[in-house]
Symmetry: C2
Subunit: 425 residues, 2 copies
């Protein structure tokens, strides 16, 4: 039996779930893992919230220093969120030799290299399974179960808020605005939803996951990012007609030394396992050169699933005899041999409102042909004072599609490409 004292910094939703597991499953973990966990200190400026979890007064820390200076505590859980003061607090703990377990994707995505350097300096571990995809153990899988494989791609639904909104729009025909409002009322979206709906949250997670998958630093700023705020009911309807479901996908691919990393709304074929991932569920599809396709599916958020990932990391940290660090040079820079490519190849769906005149389709087709874009399907409908033409292309280069769009809009003042959605193939 090993007594392990831990501290929790930040006792909001996720911190509360973590405390609940450490207390409710205390005896279970003692019996099965031989670890007697004790939550010795909790730090949060909201004392009422601390009390609401039944945490005794003598466990309330008055400062991060109090935790850093407590020699009993060997593992510190950070569930405050945001960059500061979480970053300074974590650095203090690492330098004091305490391993840190965090759910903070923004912080890890932005400051992993310096935090890992600090961890090494302090001889401490830094674990962050909970930062990506809630309770789904995708980080451990990339680190400890796929070592034999070149990962060719990872494709995931890794943001619960946007998946909830898009599922509502798809299944119940809601508008984006109404679905967002409902998500906010249910606590699935924040009052300021920007981080989720504009894809920042997914880009933080993708930068972490693709760094691990491709064995090089991929800063979040290198991730191409498009949110879901422009997705319309018409797009969803058109997708349905063509056999697709719209999802905010995070996509990482590696071909030799070319890596692409991107977050954007995507048409997913209805037969693809990711198409059925609805509501607050998340999933990551991974392809490796020997293991072929794998999918990891589960709850992407919530206090209990995220708490599960945190406490499993705490058990992992408590059992390790030496810390686990990343297996690539974690210096904040993409390895010199790696080229982050932004000229993706993809199938595309385009919807254009055009002047309804003879020859208009021929003129559009000519533009595509000129730009090496081959068309798979065309749907044309008459509209008020014009027509709507939808195209599904064969795989084409993003740059060629963008050139085609510009040229189509130049052809006639009435021409306007209203939607432009990448298609998973």
């Amino acid at each position: 039996m090993k007594k392990v004292h831990v501290a929790i910094m930040g006792i909001g939703t996720v911190g509360g779930g973590t405390y609940e597991i450490l207390t409710k499953n205390h005896d279970f973990m003692l019996k099965n893992h031989g670890i007697d966990f004790c939550v010795k200190k909790v730090l949060d400026k909201n004392l009422e919230r601390i009390a609401s979890f039944g945490i005794p007064e003598n466990a309330v820390a008055s400062s991060a220093d109090e935790i850093a200076n407590d020699e009993d505590i060997s593992i510190v859980i950070e569930t405050m969120g945001g960059v500061e003061p979480a970053k300074s607090f974590i650095e203090k703990m690492l330098l004091a030799g305490k391993s840190v377990v965090t759910a903070n994707k923004e912080l890890i995505s932005k400051h992993w290299p310096s935090l890992e350097a600090t961890a090494k300096k302090g001889g401490a571990g830094l674990y962050f399974e909970a930062s990506c995809v809630g309770g789904v153990p995708i980080i451990r899988a990339l680190e400890e179960s796929l070592q034999a494989n070149h990962v060719n791609s990872l494709v995931g639904i890794i943001n619960g808020t946007t998946n909830y909104i898009l599922s509502k729009m798809t299944e119940e025909g809601m508008s984006y605005a109404d679905a967002l409002k409902e998500a906010q009322q249910l606590g699935y979206a924040e009052f300021n939803p920007t981080a989720d709906v504009e894809g920042f949250d997914a880009s933080y997670k993708l930068s972490i996951l693709s760094s691990l998958a491709f064995h090089t630093c991929i800063p979040g700023t290198k991730v191409y990012r498009e949110g879901i705020t422009n997705v319309t009911k018409a797009d969803i309807k058109a997708g349905k007609e063509l056999g697709y479901v719209i999802k905010l996908l995070a996509i990482g691919k590696r071909h030799g030394n070319d890596v692409e990393v991107r977050v954007h709304p995507t048409f997913v074929p209805q037969s693809h396992p990711l198409a059925g991932v609805s509501g607050s569920f998340n999933a990551v599809f991974v392809n490796g050169d020997f293991v072929d396709d794998l999918m990891f599916y589960g709850r992407g958020a919530g206090s209990r699933p995220t708490g599960s990932a945190i406490v499993s990391d705490v058990v992992y940290a408590a059992k390790r005899t030496s810390p686990l660090y990343s297996d690539f040079e974690n210096n904040g820079e993409v390895s010199p041999e790696i080229n982050i490519s932004t000229d993706f190849t993809s199938k595309y769906y385009l919807s254009a409102s055009v002047k309804d005149a003879p020859g208009v389709l021929a003129s559009l087709a000519t533009v595509f042909a000129k730009n090496n874009v081959s068309i798979e399907t065309v749907l044309q409908r008459g509209g008020v004072g014009g027509a709507v033409v939808c195209f599904l292309t064969h795989p084409a280069k993003e740059s060629d599609i963008r050139k085609s769009i510009a040229e189509i809009e130049e052809l006639d003042d009435e021409n306007k490409v209203v939607s432009f959605i990448r298609v998973l193939s």
Copy 2:
């Protein structure tokens, strides 16, 4: 950089895939994991097969002792299959202090306790991720990612052969016999298919997975087992009409100290994520008290995915400073506080051919009511000289269902319950 010499015992399909990864991805693993793998010895009585993989003559071992006595070799891969001589060879290696990585589910299921004891004696590790569900890292997930959770249930499609046969019967309307024949021709089923089609293979895997999930030994002999040889086209058709797909499921459940472990054909609701797992893909659905639902999906067999699991275990073993052993008393006995329950509660589908006479439905309904079985749906069809009545029950006890079946058959000589399939709910 760490030079690690390994040996492979058994160079059939899986051993060959393993050798291929260790050579093809040698430089990749050296760069990313700092390990310089060298396959120093290969043992197989078929020298032609050894040569066919381009393995040099000086790497051919003449006996297991030669490997056990080679002080350079620290990790031995066993891909021979079957119990003997694999067991004796593995024991030799463990006693010589060499960690063993194996894909052998039959051996682990039958002799894990004694092999683990031998491993401890030799100070060696024993790793078997590849024994369950091919390339899917379900064992590592249970051991290293779900430590915070009481696992309530695990439900899986964990045998590729039967899933291929049932998929062919469902999607193409083939008979069992024809589908089996095709599977044999394609190498998905063996000439003697008993181990797969009678559910032995799945019961070995379930015994391993449920032991890890429920933290107690669960010998394969404790697993209730029914194969797919009695599944008919009529069952598949009836399932389709009721919204179900038939799958050979391995089910482990724990309620308090009651554990049930069973392998049998099961109707899976078409909306359940397991319903879409077709062909040679496998998947395991896990529910934990905090993490909620998780699903792990991937290729359940094949030289490359299984090789991926083996080599990832080899990397894991090479990096560990001390071996990982099971976290429960691995003595071959179910813990005394655990009760292995065989009186499951489930929904059931029953199909009976009965005498077509007035009052027959009422008499059957009376039998069910007397035995506490509540009916959800009834379908009745006229047949030649009789009628076929199908029942879908609400959750009921297996013992009550079996009593009902016996009583229905006693009612009239013409009554016969022709199908009896459990339904996942």
